[in-house]
C-alpha cells in the first residue's frame, strides 16, 4: 500500500501527538497576538533626563536714578527738606529656590543726606517697610516663593537743611538671600 496516498484516517492520539499539542498551542498563542498586533513593525525607547540648575537672579531695569532737593522741597522754618521721590527704575527677579528674599544696601558708609527705598507693587511676595539705606543689608522684598516677577523701586531722598549742600552718590546693591 502506498502510504503517501493513504486515505486520511482519524486515529487515537499517540503520546507523541499529545506531546505536540502543547508546542502547537504555544506557537498559536505566541504568534496570534503578534499577528493581531502585526500592525506594529518595531519599537524602541530611551531615557531623556532633564535637570534644572538652581537659578536665583535679580536685575535692575535701568542704571541710574537721580533725586534733587531744591528750594521747592523746603518748608520755611522746618529743618527737614523733602522728601522727593524717584520711581524710574524697577527690579526684576527670578527664583526657582524656595524661601528666598531680596535685601538692599548701599556702599556709601557716611551719607550726608537721607536715602530710603521701598518696593512698590511687587507682582509676587511682600514689600518690606521703607528702608533707610545703609551699608548693612536690609530686607527689601520677602515671601516671594519660587517665582518670577517685578516691582517698582521707589527712592525717597530727604535732607536736613543743617547738612548743607552737596551730592551723595550711592551704589545700591540688591541681593538674593535665604529667608
Amino acid at each position: 500500500m502506498d502510504m503517501a496516498r493513504a486515505p486520511i484516517r482519524f486515529r487515537k492520539p499517540t503520546d507523541l501527538n499529545k506531546a505536540l499539542v502543547f508546542p502547537a498551542l504555544l506557537l498559536i498563542f505566541a504568534c496570534v497576538p503578534q499577528g493581531a498586533s502585526a500592525q506594529v513593525y518595531g519599537t524602541d525607547s530611551h531615557n531623556v533626563t532633564v535637570t534644572v540648575a538652581t537659578v536665583n537672579i535679580v536685575q535692575v531695569s535701568a542704571g541710574t536714578a537721580s533725586l534733587t532737593l531744591s528750594a521747592a522741597a523746603v518748608t520755611a522754618g522746618v529743618n527737614l527738606m523733602g522728601p522727593v521721590t524717584n520711581s524710574a527704575t524697577s527690579l526684576l527677579w527670578g527664583f526657582n529656590s524656595s524661601l528666598r528674599k531680596v535685601t538692599v544696601k548701599t556702599n556709601l558708609a557716611a551719607p550726608k543726606f537721607i536715602l530710603k527705598v521701598l518696593a512698590v507693587a511687587p507682582t509676587q511676595g511682600t514689600a518690606s517697610p521703607e528702608v533707610t539705606l545703609s551699608t548693612t543689608a536690609a530686607d527689601f522684598l520677602i515671601n516671594t516663593g519660587r517665582s518670577s516677577g517685578s516691582c517698582t523701586i521707589q527712592y525717597s531722598g530727604s535732607a536736613l537743611a543743617s547738612a548743607g549742600t552737596g551730592t551723595d552718590t550711592h551704589t545700591i546693591t540688591f541681593t538674593v538671600a535665604a529667608q
Binding site: 532633564v50 538652581t54 526684576l92 527670578g94 526657582n96
Partner: protein, 171 residues
C-alpha cells in the same frame, strides 16, 4: 488491524511525525526571526540616553529652554503606509519636555509633542510611504526642555527622567 497495532509507531508514521516536528520548528524559527527583525524596523541612534541641562533664566521672565538634537530615529520602509507614535512616562514630573522630528523626508512630521507622564501614544511621524524608492530614513529627534521658575530646581525637586518610547506601526 487491532487497535493495539494501530497505536504502534510504524517507520512511515515516525517519518511523518518527524516531518511535522521539523515543520513546526521551522514555523517557530521563522516567527522568532520575524519578531526579532521587527525590532530592527525602528531604532534610536546617537546619544543613547540624552541629558538636557537648564542652567539659566531671565529675571522677570522664564528659565531658558534648551534644545537637544543628539539622537536620531531610524525607520525602515514597510509594505503598508505606516506611522510612528511616541509616548512617555516620567514619575514625579516637575519640568517640561517636548519632542519634534526634524529633517523628515519620508512621512510627515507631527507638530511638537509635549511629553507627559502616562500619556497615550501620540502621532509623531505619519504617512510614511510604502512605495519603493527608499529603504530607511533617519530624522533627528529634537527635544526641548523647559521650566518655569515656579517649577523649582533639581536640587529640591529631583531630575525628570523620561522613558520615551517610539513605535512604528501601520497607519
Amino acid at each position: 488491524m487491532t487497535r493495539r497495532e494501530d497505536m504502534t509507531m510504524t517507520p512511515q508514521r515516525r517519518y511523518r511525525t518527524l516531518r511535522l516536528l521539523f515543520l513546526i520548528g521551522g514555523v517557530i524559527f521563522v516567527s522568532m526571526f520575524l519578531v526579532s527583525s521587527a525590532a530592527a524596523q525602528l531604532t534610536l541612534r546617537g546619544t543613547a540616553n540624552p541629558t538636557i541641562n537648564i542652567t539659566t533664566g531671565t529675571a522677570g521672565g522664564s528659565m531658558t529652554s534648551v534644545v537637544n538634537t543628539s539622537s536620531t530615529i531610524r525607520y525602515t520602509r514597510q509594505a503598508a503606509i505606516a506611522k510612528i507614535t511616541v509616548r512617555a512616562t516620567c514619575p514625579s514630573q516637575s519640568f517640561h519636555l517636548a519632542v519634534v522630528a526634524t529633517g523628515v523626508t519620508r512621512g510627515v512630521a507631527a507638530p511638537q509633542v509635549d511629553l507627559i507622564d502616562g500619556m497615550l501614544a501620540v502621532d509623531f511621524i505619519t504617512s510614511i510611504p510604502s512605495a519603493a524608492g527608499w529603504t530607511t530614513s533617519t530624522p533627528t529627534l529634537s527635544y526641548t526642555a523647559s521650566a518655569a521658575f515656579s517649577d523649582g530646581n533639581s536640587v529640591e525637586m529631583g531630575n525628570d527622567v523620561y522613558a520615551v518610547t517610539y513605535t512604528l506601526q501601520v497607519q
